[in-house]
Amino acid sequence: MSDTFPPQGYVQTKSAVSGIEVYRPLKPEELEAARPVVDFRCPNCDGATGYSTDDGGLTCTFCGYHEAPEVEIVGKGAQEFEFTVETVERATNGWGQERKELVCNSCAAHTTLSTEMLSHTCPFCGSNAVVQSRAPQDVLRPRFLVPFVTTTENCRQITAEFLQNSWMLPNNLQNLARSTEYTPIYIPFWTFDARTTASWRAEVYNTDASRRRHAAPNWKWERPFLLKLGDREGKQWDWESGAVSLFTDDMLVSGSGQISLTLLKQLRGYRLSELVPYDPTFLAGLSAQAYDVDLESAWASARRSMRAKTKEACLEQASTRTTRNFSMNMDFSDESWRYILLPIYLATYRYGDKVFQVLINGQTGTIAGQRPVDWRKVAQYLGLAFLPGLLLAIIAAVLLANNLDVGGFIMMVAGIGLIAWIVFAVTTLSKAGKMAEA
């Protein structure tokens, strides 16, 4: 047995039998919960330090002190959690509109921090603090994150390119990218794993050929060959059945209701293989949102996607896609979840009198957002494209008026041109619309 009692990392807990003492290991969150709020001070000059996305570490803006965080990449091996009854109940209860009163350690200013923010910068003295836990949140706090890889300079380049790669945009946007402010922010995400096991049965409209061709694993054609009585081509509804087992790994569901889902979807493609354990250092001086889409509803939407995917896999097994009376039974198993933070840059820029929003994936640099479409330029181009057709039509009309047969041919060419123009105009306008709306 150990030399010292109790061994390190153990704490006494209640015992139901007198004369027996019970010690249990400290949970990692209990070690961290000892510091509900972490302040960041420079060891050299006592100034406020903050995480810099440009050099990946804590930096002091006063004396230039730099401290790289200990990064231990856990990747997709990052611990996953089960849907225990306890977790699910706590997740549904949420923590309401609770707000946290923060007292600045530097200037003693009082600020209230809304629950959706995990980090805080004192508006009076600029010192940075990271909120570790709130009472009802202890189970449901982020355990892993992907650190910022993209630097502000990268963002400028990416935005500059984004603002120049289409003729529909105004020409003078380069400077815009230079002057834009990029705000790094951590967005909450849920990741879900689950296995879905399904069995299905349906009537499938078959031809002899499709019957012969088809033989998927786990699939069964239920009608005995002896009873093969179809119409003349052997077309007939056959009962078929099959079984499907799928594993979904790390399905991402946004935990933030604030940021446009369509924009977030365009930013997808995070490499979760670069997940690191949560450390408040990564959040110092940056913004970080806590989730506002709770575990239960995020899981419900993930389950909807998973079952749709499983149903699709079932239909895939049928010998043809024409089915009726489709039914399936499906079981979820090995379900697990994670609460992680993913890096995003938020940027807004002004063009004319309008404000445009852009998001950049803080890991891969993928960009998504609204762009100021130059509608006058679009109209000019469309008009220009219309001209040759119009010209041909006029020529054809003149020729036809002079009873020259070739006019009919030219008229036909003009007609084709018109149709091509309409297609072009519609696609261009929809593209432009998307750019402007995003």
Partner: protein
């Protein structure tokens, strides 16, 4: 009681009272305390020898300390009768002595000793404790173009390390006082110790008491094993866990206090062909019986002889018919054939009783 005077006479009489006799068995080395009317009977445990006074130079360990507690005989008379009768019936070609009435007549109540120890245990312990919990899962059904979702709960066990200290008294931990204890329990089952009561001299009337042949020091190791199980169980309860595994401890023991508990047992016996006693053990609480089945080779031989005689008669008839067939009437040869087959067939079955008896006796010996 001048017979016992050689062996710690005064101490002995002071402990048990003057009416009791101390005798030993030369075959199983058991030492018994018995009432005067049972003196010099066949050994109630092994049945191989008669009990006799012990020699002064006999150095087998004797623990004459009188017992404090006993478990009373609880088995119903009808139960014992039924078990004994059933046992006697289950042997074909049984020795003459194997009769239910004889067995019941020889039923002898015997008390077997068991050590009980009270001890104060101190030390550290560690184990992995398992806690039951539930997870929420889902089951879905797609029918008539719609989904139906069902929430299901599944049980799981979460294992967590626990350790701690222990300072607790454990009373009445059992430790066998007889070398044969495990064997007896294997044959007739364990004893229910909740029923224990203080031992009064009147309780022992008519019974033979087997004295311990293991000292408390000897039995201590087994007591510790039993304690470990009890402590592991209590540590699990203390941790409010549902399961425990990998229990380890570093105990120190103090204030051991030993007492003796008597366990109730009936024994009986029957004599086989060789006049060897074959023992029956009956649980004094449940009546469960264990006995060695022996067939009588004598009876088997007698039966075999009778069958062989019948076969010989058939053989004789065969020979007669053959003679008749060869000389007078040829059709007698056919009858000779039939008789010959009968002779061989009946003769063959004559081995069966012998085979059976041999099998029964050897199968029991192998056990």
């Amino acid at each position: 009681m001048s017979e016992t005077s050689q062996i710690e006479n005064e101490k002995w009489i002071a402990a048990w009272g003057a009416d009791w006799v101390l005798e030993g068995c030369a075959s199983c080395n058991g030492v018994f305390v018995l009432p005067p009317e049972k003196v010099s009977q066949r050994c109630p445990v092994c049945g191989q020898a008669a009990l006799a006074q012990m020699n002064p130079d006999d150095d087998r360990p004797i623990h004459t300390q009188p017992p404090e507690l006993l478990l009373p005989f609880r088995a119903a008379r009808e139960q014992l009768q039924q078990n004994v009768t059933q046992f006697a019936k289950s042997v074909w070609l049984a020795p003459a002595d194997l009769q239910p009435a004889t067995l019941l007549g020889r039923l002898q109540p015997v008390y077997l000793p068991m050590w009980l120890v009270d001890v104060q245990v101190q030390g550290e312990w560690q184990a992995e404790m398992g806690f039951d919990y539930e997870i929420v899962s889902h089951r879905e059904q797609y029918k008539n173009s719609g989904w139906q979702t069902e929430r299901v709960k599944e049980g799981r066990v979460r294992w967590e390390p626990r350790l701690g200290r222990l300072n607790r008294a454990y009373n009445n931990q059992m430790a066998p006082a007889l070398e044969q204890q495990a064997e007896v329990e294997r044959k007739i089952g364990r004893f229910q110790t909740q029923d224990q009561q203080p031992c009064q001299p009147t309780d022992l009337a008519g019974a033979i008491v087997h004295l311990p042949n293991r000292s408390p020091e000897d039995a201590w190791n087994e007591a510790v094993l039993g304690l470990q199980t009890a402590v592991a169980q209590e540590c699990r309860q203390a941790s409010e866990a549902n399961h425990a595994r990998g229990f380890k401890w570093s105990p120190s023991f103090a204030n051991q206090h030993w007492t003796q508990l008597l366990l109730p047992l009936y024994t009986s016996y029957y004599l086989d062909d060789d006049n060897q006693a074959q023992m029956l053990l009956l649980h004094g609480q449940t009546g469960q019986l264990h006995g060695v089945r022996r067939a009588s080779l004598k009876r088997a031989r007698r039966v075999a002889g009778m069958v062989a005689t019948v076969a010989a008669v058939f053989l004789l008839i065969t020979l007669l018919l053959v003679g008749l067939g060869l000389t007078v009437a040829e059709e007698a040869l056919a009858w000779a054939g039939v008789a010959g087959v009968l002779a061989v067939g009946v003769g063959g079955t004559a081995v069966l009783p012998l085979l059976y008896a041999w099998y029964v006796n050897n199968a029991q010996a192998a056990k």
